[in-house]
């Protein structure tokens, strides 16, 4: 930015003029810098802005007006139309379904990943390195490879309340897995646990605490930022997932927001205002979450480099 400048003794008047010129030059440069950064940021935002502007126009307006013209009126009815567009369900149902699945998956991951991470970071046992490497290996394996056998597995797991008599058509396959550990969460939390000084655990151990107590009373409370990061990521992944809900959910009332939106898109081809309203509404919860918890997102990625 400001390179160190070599100052040589000069007559006072010249020095003042130089200083002024330098200050002016810096102002110009700063302004250009801001302008470039903000222009780039707005360019990144174009799809969002266009989504918003389209969602408030009428269908006729969308095709007749200039692309970035302001809508003639704010046609909020696109939102209500979209919300009630599908027979028998509203987008509220999809939201509820997504919220339930994402919450359950998040809870499951928080519990089981933190337990596994604790074992890998703190406990000593034979085969720890190999096992941890094995867990990490699953991070690199494309999950589609297990798609078919998992589908078969869930098809044989009985469930009395579903039409099929098994887990297909229910939301169970979308969150029960989360109660059986996960590579990302284990990796993320282990890295964090390793930064907690082992003196704390040693002291507690001398006082007669068992590993479970050390885990619950020392590691969990001290790891709130890392747990928050994991929670936010898992919530986001579950909320945004398309492939799994598409495979397992069969009836409209059980759809998640993403599947509902994709279905809606298939039904309303050409109705861009309604579709943009739907897309925007489906994105809103995550955007709000991001604005509130941006630092956890950024930290999580910086530490683990994962998004999914």
């Amino acid at each position: 930015m400001s390179a160190p400048t070599v100052s040589v003794a000069r007559p006072p008047a010249g020095a003042r003029r130089r200083k002024q010129r330098r200050r002016a030059w810096r102002l110009v440069r700063r302004t250009a810098q801001y302008a470039t950064l903000i222009a780039g940021g707005l360019a990144m935002m174009i799809p969002f802005l266009w989504m918003l502007s389209t969602s408030l126009k009428t269908r006729v307006e969308v095709f007749s007006s200039a692309p970035f013209s302001f809508p003639t009126g704010l046609h909020w009815e696109n939102y209500t139309n979209m919300w009630f567009a599908l027979p028998g369900v509203t987008f509220g149902t999809f939201f509820q379904n997504s919220l339930f699945i994402a919450s359950m998956a998040t809870i499951g991951q928080l519990i089981t990943c933190s337990m596994a991470a604790y074992a890998f970071a703190v406990l000593e046992f034979r085969g720890r390195h190999i096992l941890f490497a094995l867990i990490l290996a699953t991070l690199i394996i494309p999950f589609q490879v297990v798609l078919v056998p998992n589908f078969v597995l869930y098809r044989y797991l009985p469930w009395p309340f579903s039409d099929s008599g098994n887990w297909i058509g229910t939301n169970l396959p979308l969150w029960v897995w989360a109660f059986f550990g996960g590579a990302f969460g284990t990796f993320l939390l282990r890295q964090f646990f390793l930064t907690i000084p082992s003196d704390l655990a040693d002291a507690a151990r001398v006082d007669g605490a068992n590993p479970w107590q050390i885990f619950l009373r020392i590691y969990v409370p001290l790891s709130r930022p890392a747990l928050a990061t994991l929670a936010i990521f898992q919530f986001m992944w579950s909320w945004n997932d398309l492939l799994d809900p598409l495979i397992y959910l069969r009836d409209l009332p059980t759809y998640t927001t993403t599947v509902g939106l994709a279905f809606f898109q298939g039904e309303y081809i050409g109705n861009w205002p309604a579709m943009m309203a739907g897309a925007l509404v489906s994105l809103l919860p995550m955007i709000i979450l991001f604005l509130i918890a941006q630092k956890y997102f950024v930290r999580g990625i910086a530490i683990s480099g994962l998004k999914g």
């Binding site: 074992a119 490497a133 290996a137 861009w272």
Partner: protein, 328 residues
Amino acid sequence: MASNTVKPVRLAVARLGSALPGIRRAGVSSVTRAHPRRGPRAGEARWALLFLAPTLIGLAVLSAGPILATLAISLTSWDMLTPPKLVGLDNYVNLLGDARFLTALRNTFFFTAVSVPLGLVLALGLAVAVNQHIRGIAVIRTMYFLPLVTSSTAIAIVWLWIYSPTGLLNHAVAVLGISPQRWVTDPTLAMPSIIAMATWQELPVNVIIFLAGLQGIPSDYYDAASVDGAGRLARFRYVTLPLLTPSIFFTGILALIGAFQVFDQIYVMANPGKPGGATITLVYFIYESGFRNFHMGLAGAASWILFLIVAVFTILYFRTQNRWVHYQ
């Protein structure tokens, strides 16, 4: 197979530890305490088993086991209604003669080969641009980071509208005197259009990783370079770039694996009954043959081919790191 993947991954883990400044301290090899048999820590193995029980069950039932199961299923003909019939390698042979599969394969490679380098270069530039300590930079960064949290489904719908015949892009190119294009339905334009969209969406992740890397470079290095008379470009070339190679390596592997798995955008953009299927990818093919047409054997075989491709590319990629990645 599992044992074959372990070795490069252990290497990966060892490298990962030093790839990012925040976790360097916590590298795998740094924890090499003895295993006391007696004393206060005796019996920890039993505790470990307790803590790891859910994970171990998950590993066996939901990931490691199913990988082998996929292999077994790929050797059968199975529609899930009648019992599976063993057919040997027929599914693999059939796939190699299946025009739709070959299209999916070609598209997946094309998508990966273009989107990964493109995404990395753009993200690098952007990261350098937003790595400034100026007032309001947090707000500016938020604008760049926003695509991060969006679902590819909703985003693909928005871009479908941008690319539509009356959409934004055609308005934009009209200014340049270019006639309206069919960005998504024209077979030659479809993949580039999808790549542009995916690159836009993936940009923030890469930027954030690069930013973390940039902020981990000690400012002394820049000062020293400046004293030696290095200009802005030289500092980037000889300080920033070499010290950022671990981040670039790391982002590269994630982008590579992610690119091979592209599905959501394809589903939204290619799904609505487009006959040619110009943009189907490998994962879309797996979804289609397994869960639309119920050829589980075929889907299994395609999954294994995907797995092998990712494994081979991951290993090859790790092999190259000695040549260009500099760890401090």
